[in-house]
Symmetry: C2
């Protein structure tokens, strides 16, 4: 076994996802009905029954369905863990740095891990369409459209009219390449949309309206079901394939991690990497640091308040989460994937329990660029901008280790890529001018 | 071992590249000096000594240097061979289709295989810079810039002024992210450039001029050496890692190929896949088809003439190759990677010997789009446009197998990708309108 790239065989792929809930000292706070204040421990029935049952499930191990395992394998799992030897040399650090590659095909994003099971459950429960709001990054829309097709479903996507106008090429790509049922929101498909269009035929749309349209569309329809890309416990659960693989990989080379690092938007890649290691810390008080990396524009875990708030992806419910004090949405940063106002309820709870550390990095985009440049020239991977944040945190940890002369073991999740083979380098080039 | 995705372990990576020259019934035709007509069996000394020695070498097996092996592993080799089960079902074919993934990080292109050793030899021979013309696809420039950095060298790139003006973002990316020494050609760096700029300060440049500038720059300089991405025998040689891995993978599942398919620009991915299988056919008369897939805009192997021609990448020499009868360069097609006027000398020779079959596909871009859409929806990989051509040939072979009720085994090289995570979908979207 090479200590440079630690592979697992297909036989080593985890057979079950890990759920941390039964191992926590307290119960996860319930959701609440906005109007009655009544406690709720399931999802609205616009989601799949499976996702709903998993939301507050206390079942520790959840078997990965055979067809999902097959799809995981087909798209590259188990994924390599790579020793960042050249980055270590560049930093002259005694720390040993390992990065987990969640940046591989088809989408170049870890979201594939959660989106495949969601589409599978939809298929299994008899739905013909997955319905989702295209409010996050391009790759999130694309990966949902893709996983729908993997399981023979049609992707229905709501995108704001403004978004569609600015990204006509995306619209065409989703419609033509995936045969997506793509709606410009507000749309004529729903009562909400029709009402808003009547008021203003050129309504630009908003993510709140998309939330309402997705909810209405899936509530009324027999054949469509709502899916989202993060936030839900079922999404966090399925991301644990990341950490479960990393655990096996580190065991193979007899390495014990000191710090686990990942970026946090709503936090599903962070949870996926760290949750399988948390039990150890919970039960054995092992000195293991879980470092959630945020942008100062949205440092909810670091500076936000833990409270019940309404979320656009689940109209009618209040959810307990860390919320950052935005008055209005801040101007987008390059690492747009980590710029969210709230963290996932479960991750928020872990933070509340004191299990999660945080690091905050400035929105100064030069730093994203510099980090990405160093990682590209040393490790040869072009980071998605949001993945530059945790790599910067790794570099800072490694520099500290050098100062202290410590042989620290740092493991980081590279959650997304911009391949060298992309044509539009703007995300980086506009930083460089 | 799963028959769906056939992995090799890092220990199974080929230790030597295969050279077909000693196994051929005739010698590869020499190059000729343009002026004297003298036969030459090496490269000009603007290339590395190693590449020059390999050009007409009769050594069958060439050990892969340890540092190149390490880089191959670090960037994902051995790469998976995947059974295209969903495509088979879509086509209702009894054929078994396997695709070799040469579309993975860092560049999403098979060119990494050849570019890494070239940069390694440059480093080993004491050069500080690799010098190349950025006349091919974006990903070729990027991969050369990248491999230079892997071995601690600076990439010097000549791009035409017109190209630079149209692709300002690429220029910035190469300069800022890779620290490339990027020259707008005609440039002030060379006598050729200065003369042309004097005549016309806004000279748009051309690939011929780039060829002359690269030649002059590397002839005069102590620290720079010329590298190119295909054509040379050393490039074809190093691409044999593709076919050597495929051979092992097929043996593991006890499968015997009937057809091997790849696209042909100058032909290095085609050679890389097929050469390791050619010996069998040469010596045992095995019924094995090697299918080179071309575009009708540049069907050199199918319709071209086998003759001595001057090539822009090697000024002063004549090279025997199949040349397509272009008067002027045709308008670029989407699969620009396969639109070349000439094939690599060695591949041309194999065609001349009757070992290689060809298929030609129309330039009609709807067909590229349709093929890519089908492959995306079935196999979940977004093909680089040039990789859509061989996949179409595979589909046609599979349909023929269905008609004849034959259980044919078809193996294809997916030489490049456009990841789902690219922002500019133009290459496909402009086809879809």
């Amino acid at each position: 076994m090479s200590r440079e790239r630690i592979d697992l065989s297909q036989d080593d792929i985890p057979r079950a996802w890990y759920n941390i809930l039964p191992d926590l000292p307290e119960s996860l706070p319930s959701y609440k009905d906005v109007e009655s204040g009544k406690e709720i421990r399931r999802l609205p029935n616009t989601f799949t029954k499976t996702a709903s049952e998993l939301e507050f499930s206390e079942k520790r191990w959840n078997k990965i369905p055979e067809k999902v395992l097959e799809a995981y394998k087909n798209f590259g799992r188990p994924l390599p863990l790579i020793r960042a030897r050249r980055l270590e040399r560049f930093l002259k650090t005694p720390a040993r740095i390992y990065f987990k590659c969640e940046n591989l095909p088809p989408g170049g994003t870890f979201k594939t891990n959660a989106s495949l099971p969601q589409a599978y459950w939809a298929m299994k429960e008899g739905y013909k369409r997955t319905v989702f709001g295209g409010t996050a990054t391009t790759r999130t829309k694309l990966i949902h459209a893709f996983t729908a097709r993997v399981f023979g479903l049609t992707p229905t996507i709501f995108m704001t009219r403004a978004d569609c106008e600015q990204n006509r090429d995306q619209v065409i790509f989703l419609r033509e390449m995936f045969g997506a049922d793509l709606l410009e929101s507000p749309s004529n498909r729903t009562e909400t949309g029709r009402r808003l269009l009547k008021e203003n035929p050129n309504h630009p749309g908003s993510s709140d309206i998309i939330g309402m349209e997705v909810e209405e569309e899936t509530r009324q329809s027999e054949d469509g079901v709502s899916i989202i890309s993060s936030d839900l416990n079922s999404n966090l659960l399925t991301q644990t394939v990341i950490g479960l693989e990393v655990k096996k990989q580190l065991e193979l080379i007899d390495e014990k991690p000191d710090v686990l690092v990942a970026s946090v938007g709503s936090g599903s890649n962070f949870y996926g990497l760290t949750a399988p290691f948390m039990k150890e810390r919970l039960t054995r008080l092992k000195d293991l640091k879980f470092l959630a990396v945020e942008s100062e524009t949205s440092a909810k875990l670091t500076k936000g308040e833990y409270k019940y708030v309404p979320l656009e992806w689940m109209p009618g419910l209040l959810v307990k989460t860390y919320e950052f004090g935005w008055e209005t949405h801040p101007p987008p940063i390059k690492g747009i994937g980590i710029q969210t106002k709230c963290a996932a309820p479960l991750l928020s709870f872990l933070r509340h329990l004191g299990i999660v550390d945080t690091a905050v990095y400035p929105k100064d985009e030069r730093f994203v660029f510099d980090t990405a440049r160093i990682f590209l020239q040393t490790e040869g991977r072009l980071l998605a901008p949001e993945s530059a944040y945790p790599i910067r945190a790794v570099m800072d940890e490694a520099i500290e280790a050098k100062r202290k002369g410590e042989e620290k073991v740092i493991v980081v999740c590279v959650s997304g890529t911009l391949y060298l083979d992309f044509d539009e380098k703007e995300r980086y080039t506009s930083l460089a001018i």
